[in-house]
């Protein structure tokens, strides 16, 4: 209780100090919507906290804008997300950072399209999130774009030309990435020497890995989540097959698979915009603030959301949003502004086109000594 009172006093003090110093500041009301409870809470809490760090920084810096962050829980549910969205607008939100997960974002974004409300989603990566909606923009790559981005990274960094692909043909995420990878790979001169599939039930990857080995692939592309990937790494180690394994964001988490010998993941590369151990001063600063405030290491979602707040502020500045701008007016202004801004965030340097998809340089991390490093 004492702590609470102290906190409240500190807050009051901070507010008075803020208002004393930055009387001219315009207050922007931004609502974060994400699953703060339920099965996907890990992601929603990460985006909420990432946004909070950015808001604290911006408010402390005392620039043109002060930000009031409204936090609403959508329970990763397409019915509840509409309630959360309406509650956010009732609370006076002018624009929305969210929603964190794809399916709810599709529903809320469509409602926002009808009502004219601007959405910037940090992490909802399916294409349906931005399809047919001019009001939704993404901070992260769309799922299929990760395939193209991976091919681009492999070709540009000359990791090899003979590529084997193993993918889950019962999963939209996996097949979507595979399709764009193959397409872009052909364009960039990558040779697909073997292509093998599996389904959710597969636990034995001897055939798939064997085919890749026989074909002499230098790189094995694994567009899948980390659980099957861990089995593939184990199988390859048993066969003494050592190509470069290249994964996408679903691979993030492979080091925490229970019973998995993490030494097998040494040298594995994965496409990820954010690595907490990076020495980039901006990233290090964010990671430190996050750890100090929340006592844990931020994941990619938090970084996307942190960038999201800076993107919104940059777009708001460009569009000349004020405290009086209604969500409807802000929507049109922000849509126009998004195409003109370029933001250098901790997840890369980003620009947008009218589709809402982000353009940024793909970055890949390599696992070395049990941690991700950028090379």
């Amino acid at each position: 209780m004492k702590k609470l009172i102290a906190l409240a006093l500190a807050l009051v003090l901070a507010l008075t100090v803020c208002s004393a110093f930055a009387e001219e500041a315009i207050t922007l009301k931004i609502a974060h919507i994400g699953p703060l409870t339920g099965p996907a809470a890990l992601y929603g809490i990460a985006t909420s906290r990432g946004a909070q760090i950015a808001v604290d920084e911006i408010n402390a810096a005392g620039g043109k804008y002060r930000i009031e962050l409204i936090d609403e829980d959508d329970e990763h549910n397409v019915e509840k997300v509409i309630n959360a969205y309406n509650a956010a607008l009732d609370a006076g939100a002018q624009m929305i950072i969210g929603t964190t997960t794809s399916k709810p974002c599709e529903a809320a974004g469509a409602q926002g399209y009808t009502d004219r409300v601007f959405f910037l989603t940090p992490s909802a990566s399916s294409t349906a999130v931005i399809e047919d909606k001019d009001n939704v923009f993404q901070v992260c790559f769309t799922d299929p774009n990760q395939g193209a981005a991976s091919a681009q990274y492999i070709a540009e960094n000359k990791l090899g030309t003979k590529v084997a692909v193993i993918y889950n043909n019962a999963d939209v995420y996996s097949t979507g990435i595979r399709d764009t990878f193959v397409e872009k790979g052909a364009e960039l001169g990558l040779e697909i020497v073997s292509e093998e599939t599996f389904t959710d039930e597969t636990t034995d990857f001897t055939v798939q890995v064997g085919k890749a080995q026989e074909a002499g692939a230098e790189i094995v592309f694994l567009p899948m989540y980390y659980t099957p990937a861990s089995l593939i790494l184990k199988t390859a180690a048993d066969k003494n097959y050592k190509p470069i394994f290249f994964g996408v964001d679903g691979m993030d988490g492979i080091l925490s698979v229970e019973g998995f010998d993490t030494s097998l993941a040494e040298g594995v590369m994965l496409l990820t915009p954010f690595v907490a151990t990076s020495e980039d001063p901006k990233v290090a600063n964010f990671v430190k603030l996050y750890q100090d405030k929340f006592g844990e290491t931020p994941i990619q979602f938090a970084a996307d959301s942190y960038d999201g707040i800076y993107i919104l502020v940059a777009a708001a500045e460009k569009a000349g949003i004020t405290a009086e701008t209604t969500p409807e007016e802000a929507c049109e202004l922000l849509i126009a502004a998004m195409k003109e801004i370029k933001v250098d965030g901790i997840t890369g340097s980003m620009t947008w086109d009218e589709s809402g998809a982000v353009t940024k340089t793909p970055m890949a991390a390599t696992i070395e000594n049990g941690v991700y490093v950028f090379k």
Partner: protein
């Protein structure tokens, strides 16, 4: 008019009166823009949940069978709604949203009814726990089937695929496997939802007060006695079960067409339990209770938003408290005393009401 009849009439009038009254108040609030976005956004889901609760009450409260697969029927309705609505636009260029909504609701009800019959034939031969388990399995089967179902339109024709997505090149997907029903144009309105509630009430209240309804309740109270009196147990249980399925399908279509997307994970076992909670909290066999509890429990989590992190905890506590208070003899006695003057208005002799348990 006999005492029992009069009592029933009053109960039905109160039920209808409350629903219509609430509708008029809400419509005026909408017209006067005196309603929060949050509440306005919840109106259609509330209508759908009320219909779900009332129809499940028919199965659980009146025919006495524990069905745990009610969300399955709702999902059939929701998916049918999404497909039929998309197809009507693609094939006939039908733009009138109300007509389309009515047609899709009918289609949702019919398809759910057909599934109700198919499920009911084997299932209603089972009793008690077995029936609960089988209906539970049914709900899960439906959910897993739609997970691998692909439906799309091309040139005004519907294309179906199962497990493998093999579609013509110019297809517009309506149902896309695990992604659920996509790109729905939301057309549900509160007015249609309200009319659907009235229809549900008419059907359910008339059914339970009819000869068939008394037979249904007789099979619940004592199966052997009812059978020995010549009541066909399977027939009457089937009647209740299929009616409930049709209504749930209609509610599903209304619910599905309120959003731009429907996913299989919305209709899990948990959702069936949720509806069961509405029914139990409102009172088995108490239609008015189902309406009130469905509304209350749908709105409550939204009202509790200001508790932020503790929201679901507070929700659970409120749920437990309500359960305790509505079933505690002392609190019930207090409530009865409070409502006595109101009841007196309807009854000349108070003792008439004191003894008479309603349909509970």
């Amino acid at each position: 008019m006999t005492k029992a009849k009069r009592k029933r009439l009053i109960y039905n009038l109160v039920t209808f009166g409350l629903v219509i009254g609430a509708f008029i108040i809400l419509e005026n609030m909408i017209a006067a823009k005196a309603i929060s976005r949050s509440l306005k956004g919840q109106l259609v889901p509330i209508c759908a949940w009320i219909i779900m609760a009332v129809s499940l009450n028919l199965v659980i409260g009146f025919s006495g069978e524990l069905s745990l697969g009610h969300a399955g029927f709702m999902s059939i309705g929701a998916y049918t709604g999404a497909v039929v609505s998309g197809w009507l636009v693609a094939a006939f260029d039908m733009q009138d949203p109300i007509l389309r909504l009515v047609l899709t609701i009918l289609a949702g009800g019919i398809l759910a009814g057909i599934f109700g019959v198919l499920i009911g034939i084997p299932v209603l031969r089972l009793r008690g726990d077995y029936l609960a388990i089988v209906t539970l399995a049914f709900g899960e089967i439906i959910r897993n089937l739609v997970n691998v179902l692909y439906i799309g339109t091309a040139d005004g024709n519907l294309h179906f695929a199962f497990l493998n997505k093999e579609m013509p090149a110019n297809v517009t997907m309506l149902v896309d496997g695990a992604k659920g029903a996509v790109k729905i144009k939301p057309i549900s309105t509160f007015e249609v939802g309200f009319v659907l509630i009235l229809i549900t009430l008419l059907v359910v209240l008339n059914l339970v007060n009819s000869r068939a309804g008394r037979a249904i309740q007789a099979t619940r109270d004592n199966r052997i006695a009812a059978e020995s009196m010549g009541v066909s147990v399977t027939k009457y249980k089937m009647m209740a079960f299929v009616t409930a399925a049709v209504l749930a399908g209609m509610a599903g279509a209304l619910y599905g067409l309120n959003s731009s997307t429907v996913v299989p994970t919305q209709f899990t076992f948990n959702q069936s339990i949720n509806v069961l909670v509405f029914v139990v909290l409102g009172g088995l066999g108490n239609v008015l209770g189902s309406i009130i509890s469905a509304t209350f429990l749908t709105v409550l989590p939204e009202v509790l938003r200001e508790f932020a992190d503790y929201r679901m905890l507070v929700y659970a506590v409120v749920l437990i408290l309500v359960m305790i208070f509505t079933n505690n003899p002392t609190t019930r006695a207090i409530a009865d005393r409070l409502f006595a003057p109101v009841k007196k208005l309807f009854h000349k002799d108070r003792r008439e009401t004191a003894g008479g348990g309603d349909v509970k």
